[in-house]
């Protein structure tokens, strides 16, 4: 009984030591993936913000000019 507790930790200790490097690696892989996803979403948001900023009004104009009834360019540009 007294010896058992002293024996048990050893395999645990060994097992734990063996277990932790793979766990650490997995954790760091997960962390790296999360980091990658975060950076990628930030990059996407920035690019889409710029695209929306420059492209929204042209999108409306293109949509208006191509749907029925289709106006002519003169109708778009004339002040009357």
């Amino acid at each position: 009984m007294a010896s058992r507790p002293s024996l048990k930790p050893k395999p645990k200790g060994k097992g734990a030591r063996k277990g932790s490097p793979p766990a650490d690696e997995e954790q760091s892989k997960a962390a790296a993936t999360m980091q990658f996803v975060k950076e990628w979403t930030t990059w996407t948001m920035k690019k889409s913000k710029v695209a929306a900023h420059y492209g929204f009004i042209p999108l409306i104009i293109v949509l208006g000019m191509t749907t029925e009834p289709k106006p002519t360019l003169f109708q778009l540009l004339s002040p009357v």
Binding site: K49, H53, F56, I57, L59, I60, L63, G64, P69, L76
Partner: protein
């Protein structure tokens, strides 16, 4: 829009959230003033008619759909939130097809700068805005871009009859000053619900349900990650053909009550009470709204000592002339403006 949370209290650091502030009014949750149920205290001629109405049993399974939560106080807002302007304003709206139109706006105003002292400092600024609108029954796109590159965009899309998706955004070239908000609305048989998602980690939602033919109750919540604020609010709206009374209260401490009496088709009178203990602000205002054939006149007076009025005159079909005036007696400040708007 009438959300309960006052973002004014969260406003100081950039990005400034003006998109949130105008929509939120604070209301008191105490019940609207005791309203006599229809059929009591009326003279004999009307009693017969009301007995007939009461004879019809209220069908609680077929209640009408309530107004959207942000429009809870819309009658009061129309009369009391008058957008007075200063200076000169000219809008030209050119319709190209029934769905598509372009608009040009020029405004020359004196912007007020926040000043330390009691003086009011105004700086003349002028602004040109170009806008394009595409209004289709299923999808609405509205965009405005100003001469300094600021874009404000509104999109509304109905994927189905009961579902509606709206996106509002103000985009600028300066970093961290852009804002955006996404709303998803679902309209049920006698309820409406909405979820909101915004920048600065803003999450919100609201739900409103018709409880009786005239009464609807609603609730909302919001959570702002950036400023670490959250809140829950409750609202009630009682409307009949003659009057509308609403009340709102929130855990931010804001309380707002409003009452609108529709004196006739053309005239309505409104009053409003707002209490914000965080900003130590209590305001009551009274206003009127005359919707006449040729013009629309709105005026209001405030306990902050502000008297304002706005006149929109329809001079010819498609030609409107606007006059606006506001005098702030406490700050000894005044604003007068005139403008013209051509095109629908």
């Amino acid at each position: 829009m009438g959300a309960v949370v006052s973002h004014a209290s969260a406003a100081a650091p950039p990005p400034p959230p003006p998109g949130y502030a105008p929509t939120f009014a604070d209301a008191a949750s105490s019940a609207p003033p005791p309203l006599t149920p229809p059929g009591t205290g009326k003279d004999a001629a009307a009693v017969a008619e009301e007995e007939e109405e009461e004879g019809e049993k209220v069908d609680y399974m077929n209640l009408p759909c309530p107004v959207p939560y942000e429009d809870l106080q819309r009658e009061a807002m129309m009369a009391l939130r008058i957008d007075t302007f200063e200076g000169f304003r000219f809008d030209f709206i050119k319709g190209i097809t029934p769905f598509f139109s372009l608009c040009h706006s020029v405004s020359m105003v004196s912007m007020e700068l926040p000043s330390q002292g009691a003086d009011v400092i105004k700086v003349p600024t002028s602004n040109y805005e170009f806008g394009a609108n595409y209004l289709h029954p299923k999808m609405v796109l509205m965009g405005r871009v100003s001469h300094d590159g600021r874009l404000s965009a509104r999109t509304k899309w109905d994927p189905s009859e009961n579902l509606c998706v709206k996106i509002n955004a103000q985009l600028t070239s300066e970093p961290h000053y852009s804002q955006g908000m996404l709303h998803c609305d679902y309209k049920g048989k006698d309820f409406r619900t909405q979820l909101q998602l915004g920048n600065g980690a803003y999450y919100g939602g609201n739900y409103i349900q018709s409880v009786t033919k005239n009464l609807s109750l609603g609730t909302e919540f919001f959570w702002i990650g950036q400023h670490r604020k959250s809140g829950v609010g409750f609202a009630a709206r009682y409307d009949t053909k003659k009057m509308v009374a609403t009340g709102q209260i929130a855990t931010t401490g804001v309380v707002s009550l409003s009452y609108v009496q529709k004196v006739s088709e053309k005239v309505s009178l409104a009053s409003d009470f707002m209490y914000n203990p965080m900003a130590k602000d209590v305001t009551a205002s009274f206003g009127y709204d005359y919707m006449l054939r040729q013009c629309r006149l709105r005026g209001k007076i405030d306990t902050n000592g502000v008297v304002s009025a706005l006149l929109e005159e329809h001079m010819a079909p498609g030609v409107n002339f606007n006059l606006s005036a506001e005098v702030d007696h406490w700050k000894k400040d005044y604003k007068f403006g005139f403008g013209m708007s051509i095109g629908e």
